[in-house]
Structures are given as structure tokens and as C-alpha cells.
């Protein structure tokens, strides 16, 4: 049985409100399929299954706000269904106040890594007789908080019935009201503040910038868009994203996540794209496998991501998977941006405004459209030499836009 837990959808997310289940017990679920909706300060997020299987049991009902890491549901995976002799022992259900995983630690629900069965041994299990557990479930009694009078402190049926009769009659607590836009904006500000403060406190940043001749890319793009219908056109930002992704293949140390006091290079390149929200704040969801997608695929994906970031419908994997972030403030007139790394990532790339500058080519001074690319990176993981190689690779790739 696999445990489906409240995922961590950002470095400083502590809890989420389970808004709705999209599946019911007995329904088949597929890896990557949305099975629940959770409200965070980033809006309503669609939470995806991390495995193929059958939704066995829902543990947390709709309307409850629970900490990151809390067990939400149990999923019988396809493998288990195929081999019924495999251990069918029910997973241990943590108390509602389950300690969230370390900040920045990827949630099993969003990394595709199943919780190892050995995790059961790390959570102390109360000794509870089967009858007592069944009765506790019926009466809504939390056996983890009961003093046991049985052998070895085990909770007995009498203990449960005594607790149930002593407890005040349950009253249905009204579900938490959805956040207003103002509340969500305030929460997002707090979240950004916490993440950025943590980043500045813990990550020794170094900063590099590099002015890149964008004329070849922009000229190619103008020719390309001239022959395309308006619905098929590309934005130059897509070329920048692809160049960054391909440059990361050459300098994979920058495509790393900081986990348990060390950097872990990620094999897949998922560029997070910083998208400003109209009501304030920003979110940087991932464009998955950025390096493998064509420019057209990236454009379609980017448009979809922008729309869903601003209107709702982001998926949990898009928030948890970025391996690096790209931010651009060029359209706001900024010439260069030196970003703050979003933990647990270890680098952020910035792009400024496209400006015309005198440029020397073959001894001739000509006017060229250029852009300033910057890199803020974690000095524990890389040094300026690697960062410089990365920015040089971005520049080189943008000189041959037809090969992106």
C-alpha cells in the first residue's frame, strides 16, 4: 500500500486545505492524474498521483487543513494488485499533527518516490487491539492520545468506550472558508519573504552577468513569425528558456537541488519560469523537460503555464519539480536582474531588457540589440568558473537560433 501525503509545494509551505477529492475509494488512478485539489497560498493546486493503482482509502476529508506530510489517502499500486501475496499490511497512519518533512525536502507524492515501507518502523505504533481500533474508528476516537490499560499499555476496547463516553458530543466544525484574494496575497507575501530570507541567510550567493548579442535570435524570430499565423507565433522568451536548458546540459552542476547538506544533480531539466500574478506576487512553476521540447512545444507549454498560473489549475509537480528558475524583468524596463535563489534550487538565471547598443563586429562598430543575462548561484555547489561557462554557453546557443 502506498501512502499519498500532503505534498510540499514550495520551500516554506507548511499546510494545505484539502478542497476536493476528484477520486473516490475504489477508483483507478494513474500516475500523474489529478486526484485531489489543495488550496495553498499559491491558489488551488491539482495534486497528482505518483503511482498507478486503486484509491483504497481516503484519510483526510474535504474541508480540512493539514500539515505537509500528513497522510491523505492510501493507494494500492498496480504491482500490489498483481501480487496479492505481497505485504498487504496497512500503512501506519500518522497523527494529524504529523511532523512535516524537512523544509525543502521533496514530498514523495510529487517526486514519484514511494515512501519506503521501512518508514513504519520510524513511527512509533501504539499497541491497540483490533476490536479497539475498529471501535475507535466508528466513534471518532484518536487512539494515539488514549492512555492504555491493557498489557504493556495497550489500548483496549474498554479504553475506547470510556473515552467516547467522556468526550463531549462531536460538533461538526464548519469547514475553513476559502481564502480571499487579499488573504492569499498576504500569505503569498509571507511565503516569499520566508523563502527569500532563508535563501539569503543560508545560501552563499555569487553573481555573474554577461551581455549577449541577441540580434541573430531576434532576426530569426522575426522571419519565423512572419510566416506564422498569430496563433502559432513564438515569443523570444521561449528561445531564452531553451538556450538556458541546453546550456544546463553542458554545466549540469547548476541543475541541482540542495538536499540534506549536499547538492544532488538532477538528471532531468525542469526550468521554473517566474510568472508575475496580476494581483501581486509571483509563482515559478516548471516547464518539464525544457531541454527536450521543441520551440513550438515550449511556446504552447509556456502559454498554458502562464494562463493556469493566473487563473488556477497548476499541478503539484509543476510547483515541486523546478531544478532552476529563470526570471525576466526586461518588459518592465529593467536592464539586469540578479535574483535570489529559490531553495532548494541552487541557481537562478535572470534576463533584462532588450536594448540597442553599439557593438563591435570584425572591427566595425554597429548597432545591435543586446540583452543582459545574469546568474545567481550557490557557491557551496559551483564556483564562478562554472557559472561563467554556463553563461557563455547560453550566448553561444543564442547565436544559432535555428538549432534551438
Amino acid at each position: 500500500m502506498s501512502e499519498f501525503r500532503m505534498p510540499s509545494l514550495g520551500a516554506d509551505m507548511e499546510a494545505g486545505l484539502l478542497v476536493a477529492w476528484q477520486k473516490k475509494p475504489g477508483d483507478k488512478v494513474r500516475r500523474g492524474e489529478t486526484i485531489a485539489e489543495v488550496e495553498t497560498d499559491k491558489g488551488i493546486i491539482e495534486i497528482e498521483s505518483f503511482a498507478d493503482g486503486t484509491l483504497e482509502k481516503i484519510v483526510v476529508p474535504e474541508g480540512e487543513r493539514v500539515p505537509v506530510g500528513t497522510l491523505l489517502a492510501l493507494i494500492q499500486t498496480a504491482d500490489e494488485a498483481a501480487t496479492p501475496t505481497a505485504s498487504a499490511a496497512p500503512a501506519v497512519v500518522p497523527p494529524a499533527s504529523a511532523t512535516p518533512p524537512p523544509r525543502g525536502a521533496p514530498s514523495p507524492a510529487v517526486t514519484g518516490e514511494l515512501v519506503p515501507t521501512s518508514s513504519a518502523s520510524t513511527i512509533p505504533r501504539r499497541a491497540v487491539s483490533p476490536a479497539a481500533r475498529r471501535k475507535a474508528s466508528e466513534l471518532g476516537v484518536n487512539v494515539d492520545q488514549l492512555p492504555g490499560t491493557g498489557p504493556g499499555g495497550a489500548v483496549t476496547l474498554d479504553d475506547v468506550q470510556r473515552a467516547a463516553s467522556a468526550a463531549p458530543p462531536p460538533t461538526a466544525a464548519p469547514p475553513p472558508a476559502p481564502m480571499t484574494d487579499a488573504e492569499r496575497a498576504a500569505r503569498m507575501r509571507q511565503t516569499i519573504a520566508a523563502a527569500m530570507s532563508r535563501s539569503k541567510r543560508e545560501i552563499p550567493h555569487y553573481y555573474l552577468s554577461h551581455t549577449i548579442d541577441l540580434e541573430p535570435a531576434l532576426a530569426w524570430l522575426a522571419r519565423e513569425n512572419e510566416r506564422r499565423a498569430v496563433t502559432e507565433r513564438l515569443l523570444y522568451g521561449v528561445l531564452l528558456l531553451k538556450a538556458v536548458a541546453l546550456a544546463l546540459r553542458e554545466t549540469p552542476e547548476l541543475n541541482a537541488i540542495w538536499e540534506r547538506d549536499r547538492a544532488v544533480t538532477r538528471p532531468d531539466i525542469h526550468v521554473g519560469t517566474a510568472i508575475a500574478l496580476r494581483q501581486g506576487g509571483l509563482i515559478a512553476p516548471a516547464l518539464h523537460h525544457t531541454d527536450r521540447k521543441s520551440l513550438d512545444e515550449l511556446m504552447a507549454g509556456f502559454r498554458d503555464l502562464v494562463n493556469r498560473t493566473r487563473t488556477g489549475g497548476l499541478r503539484s509537480s509543476e510547483l515541486s519539480d523546478p531544478t532552476i528558475t529563470v526570471t525576466s524583468l526586461g518588459e518592465r524596463g529593467v536592464e539586469a536582474v540578479f535574483g535570489i535563489i529559490y531553495p532548494p534550487q541552487t541557481a537562478i538565471v535572470g534576463f533584462g531588457k532588450v536594448v540597442e547598443r553599439p557593438w563591435s563586429i570584425g572591427g566595425q562598430i554597429v548597432s545591435r540589440r543586446v540583452i543582459t543575462a545574469s546568474l545567481s548561484a550557490d557557491h557551496r555547489v559551483t564556483d564562478g568558473h562554472r557559472g561563467g561557462l554556463f553563461l557563455s554557453a547560453v550566448e553561444r546557443l543564442l547565436q544559432e537560433p535555428d538549432k534551438l
Binding site: 512572419e226 498569430v230 496563433t231 515569443l235 509556456f302 502559454r303 502562464v306
Partner: protein, 89 residues
């Protein structure tokens, strides 16, 4: 389609791009990007919506003509909208 009808449609389409904006407060001859804080993706989506609504082709080189509300109205009128866009189907 009259100029007023086109203007109302343009304002409606802009409302889809920037729902927090009050159409009554938009100035017809001031740059939309400055009034509405829209970016390249917003502008592209707006151009696509004009294309679909008015069934007109909009080459990229014509984008500067769509910088203001007045510019949009003139552009649509000058490019022969038949007034039977997708929302009229």
C-alpha cells in the same frame, strides 16, 4: 460593424486579459501596456483574440498599430472586419 461596436468588443477582450481593470477608466489614446501592466504573453493573447473575434490577419509588424484602444479600432476598421467572429457563431 461601427466604430463604437468595435470599441466595445475591444474593451471586452481587454477585460479578459486584465480582468481587474475598469474599462470605463481606460484612456483611448494611451499605450495599453502602460495602462494595463500587460506583458508579451498578454499582448499575444490579445492579438489572438482580435484575430478570432474579427477574423482579421495581424502580421507581427502591425503590432505597434494595436498599442492603444483607438489604434485597435482603426486597425480593425481598416482591415475589413466582417463582424462575425467566433463569439458570434
Amino acid at each position: 460593424m461601427t466604430a463604437d461596436e468595435i470599441r466595445l468588443t475591444v474593451l471586452r477582450l481587454l477585460g479578459n486579459i486584465a480582468p481587474e481593470a475598469d474599462p470605463a477608466r481606460l484612456r483611448p489614446n494611451v499605450n495599453l501596456r502602460d495602462q494595463l501592466d500587460i506583458d508579451s504573453m498578454d499582448f499575444l493573447n490579445f492579438a489572438i483574440s482580435l484575430h478570432k473575434e474579427f477574423r482579421i490577419e495581424i502580421p507581427e509588424r502591425d503590432y505597434p498599430q494595436l498599442a492603444t484602444i483607438d489604434g485597435c479600432v482603426d486597425y480593425v476598421q481598416g482591415n475589413g472586419s466582417n463582424g462575425k467572429g467566433e463569439s458570434d457563431k
